[in-house]
Symmetry: C2
Subunit: 347 residues, 2 copies
C-alpha cells in the first residue's frame, strides 16, 4: 500500500512551455516569444513569463527545437584510435570548441571494422547530426568508412581526407624542422635521425625536412635509420650508430617519444651522456613518456588539441553554410624543451 517507498526512483517529468504559458496566463506563442526575446509585448508581461519559467525550472526541449530548426546542434566524431593516444587530445579540442556553441559531440569508435563504421554513421545520420568529424590514428590512411556524399558536411582531422573534402593535419615537416634547427642552434653538428617504418608517410615527410635543414646548414646528412615505433628499435638504432667505427652523432632526432626513450636508455647503458655527449629530441610530446626519460625529453608537440579546436570550428562554419575551400590545411607544431638537449657544447 505504501507505494511511495519503492526502490526504483521515479523521475520528474520535464516542465513544458505549455505549462509555463498556463501558469503565466498567456498562450504558448507568447511564452515562447517572451523567453526568446522575440515578438512584441509589454516588458511587464515578458518579465512575468520569464519569472514563471524560472520558478518552474523550465528548460526547452531540444528535440522539439531541433525538429523545427532542422539542426540538432550535435556532431559526430568518428575515430578508429581505440587506444586514444591521438584521438583523445583531439577530441578534447573539438568538444572544447563546440560546447560553447551549444553543440554536443557523439563519440563513435569504429575500430577498423567496416560494418561498425557503417552502423555508427547511419546512427549519426538518423539522429540528424549537423556534421561529422573524422579522425584516426594514422594521418596517411583513410578511415574504414565511406563518408562521401553524405547529407552533412564532413571535416577530416589527423586522417586522410576524401577528395574534395577539408582536412586538417599537423605540419610534420615544420615540426621536424623545429627539432633539427634547435639542434643546429645548439651547435650540434652530427645530427642523426631515427624514425619509424617508411610505410608511414610522416616518416618520409619528416626525413625530408631533416635532410633539408641539414643541407641548409651545411651539415653532413647521414641516412635516416628507419625501423619501428618502439623502444626496442631505439635501442637497436643506438647500437648501430655507436657500435661501428664511423663518426658518432652528437644529436639524435627521433620519430616518436618511444623511440627516443629507447635511445636515451641505450645511450645511458653505453655510458654516453645525455645531453652532454648527445642531444635527443622526440616527437609527439607524450608527457607520460617524455617526463619519465632520464633526463626528461625535449619533444615536438603536434598541438592536437588546437587541431581539434580548428576542426570543430571549421565544421561549424560549414554547417552554417559558409563555403570553405577543400584541401589539406597544416597546423604548426611546437617544440617543448626539456632537458635532453642541453646548452651548446661549447657554451
Amino acid at each position: 500500500m505504501v507505494s511511495d517507498a519503492e526502490s526504483a526512483p521515479v523521475f520528474a517529468k520535464p516542465v513544458t512551455l505549455r505549462e509555463v504559458a498556463a501558469a503565466a496566463g498567456v498562450s504558448v506563442a507568447t511564452a515562447s516569444k517572451a523567453l526568446n526575446g522575440q515578438g512584441r509585448m509589454t516588458a511587464d508581461t515578458r518579465e512575468r513569463i520569464r519569472e514563471v519559467a524560472q520558478r518552474l525550472g523550465f528548460r526547452p526541449n531540444h528535440l522539439a527545437q531541433s525538429l523545427l530548426r532542422r539542426r540538432s546542434f550535435t556532431v559526430g566524431l568518428l575515430t578508429n584510435d581505440t587506444y586514444g593516444r591521438f584521438s583523445l587530445p583531439l577530441m578534447a579540442g573539438v568538444s572544447d570548441a563546440l560546447v560553447d556553441n551549444g553543440v554536443s559531440v557523439f563519440l563513435c569508435n569504429v575500430e577498423d571494422d567496416l560494418r561498425l563504421g557503417q552502423l555508427h554513421v547511419e546512427a549519426m545520420l538518423d539522429k540528424r547530426v549537423d556534421g561529422i568529424i573524422a579522425t584516426g590514428k594514422r594521418v596517411d590512411r583513410h578511415l574504414p568508412v565511406d563518408l562521401s556524399n553524405l547529407r552533412v558536411p564532413v571535416v577530416y582531422a589527423f586522417t586522410q581526407p576524401d577528395a574534395g573534402a577539408i582536412g586538417l593535419v599537423s605540419d610534420d615537416a615544420g615540426g621536424a624542422r623545429l627539432a633539427v634547427e634547435h639542434f643546429c642552434r645548439l651547435g650540434r653538428r652530427r645530427i642523426a635521425h631515427v624514425s619509424g617504418p617508411s610505410s608511414f608517410e610522416v616518416v618520409n615527410t619528416r626525413a625530408d625536412a631533416y635532410r633539408a635543414v641539414l643541407e641548409e646548414n651545411n651539415l653532413a646528412v647521414s641516412e635516416p635509420l628507419l625501423g619501428a615505433w618502439s623502444e626496442a628499435w631505439g635501442h637497436e638504432a643506438v647500437a648501430r650508430l655507436f657500435g661501428g667505427r664511423g663518426e658518432r652523432p652528437d644529436a639524435i632526432f627521433c620519430g616518436n617519444d618511444q623511440i627516443a626513450r629507447g635511445v636515451i636508455d641505450a645511450l645511458r647503458e653505453r655510458g654516453v651522456g645525455v645531453p652532454d655527449d648527445v642531444g635527443v629530441i622526440g616527437f609527439d610530446n607524450w608527457e607520460i613518456v617524455a617526463e619519465a626519460t632520464r633526463p626528461p625529453l625535449t619533444s615536438v608537440d603536434m598541438n592536437l588539441a588546437s587541431l581539434g579546436r580548428e576542426a570543430g570550428l571549421a565544421l561549424l562554419s560549414l554547417v552554417g553554410g559558409q563555403p570553405a575551400a577543400p584541401g589539406i590545411r597544416k597546423l604548426p607544431c611546437r617544440l617543448v624543451v626539456r632537458q635532453s638537449c642541453g646548452r651548446p657544447p661549447g657554451g
Copy 2:
C-alpha cells in the same frame, strides 16, 4: 548565371515519411505501419511501401521519434580523465554495449571545472539524454559535478558514486590477490609491495589484500613501500629494498605498470635478473608499458572495457524502468601473464 558550379556543396534534403507515402499512394499512417511491421494490410501493400521507401532512401527522423517516444536513445558520458588512460577503454566498452541497442553516446570532458561540468550536464539534459554515465580518473573521488536529483538515471563507473546510486568499480583487492597468489604458486617467498601514495584508496585496498594473502600462505609480511605512481619511485624503491643489509625480496608486486617499469630498469642496472632472481608484477596492464619492459611485464588488468559494457547495460536497464539495487558492484580483474615472473625457481 551558371549557379550549379558553386563551390559550397548543397546537401540533399532527407526524404520524409510523407514523401514515401505519397509516392506509394497511401497515407502516412499506413506507410508508418508498413515500415514498422505494425497494423494490418495486405502483404502486397506492405511490400510495395517498403520497396518505395528503400528506393527513395527513406530513413526515419530520430528527432521526431524521440520527441514522441520521450526517449532519445542517447546517453551522456561524463569524464574528467582528459588523458584517457582509464576513460578510453571504458568508453569503448560503453559504446560497444550501447551501439547494438541503437543508443549513441555523448562524450563530455568536464576537466576538473565545475562550471564546465554544469554546462555539459545541462546540455545533456536539454538534449534529453536517457541517462548519464559518470566516470573519472580516480576511483575514490567524486566527479566535480552534481548529479543528484537529475531527471534521468545515472550510473557511476570507475568513480565514486553518490549515495543511493549505482557504481561499478574494479575489484582491486581481488586483483591484488591474483598477483600475490601467482607469486606464491610460483614459489616466491619474500614478496615485496611497492605502490603509490596512501592518499589513494586503492593503494590501501591492494596493500591489505597483499598482506592477507601473505598471511594465508604463512609468509613474512614486509611493510608496503608507498610513494608515487612514477618510474622514478620504482627506482628509488629498488634502491631501498636492495641497498640495505636486510633480506632481499624475490618478488615485487607493483601498484602500477610505471612503477614496475622503474623497478625492472633499476633491477637490471643492479645486475639483478628478472625473472630469475626477482619476479615483478604490475597493475593496470597498460600494454604500451607492459610490453616495452625487458622482459615484458606480467600485470593485473582491470577489465575496463567490461566495466564499461556493464555500466552501459546497467544504465540501459535503469532507463527501461527496471529497478536496480543501489550500491557499489565490483568486477573481477584478470592477470595477464607475460615474462616478468618466470617459472618457479626450483622447477
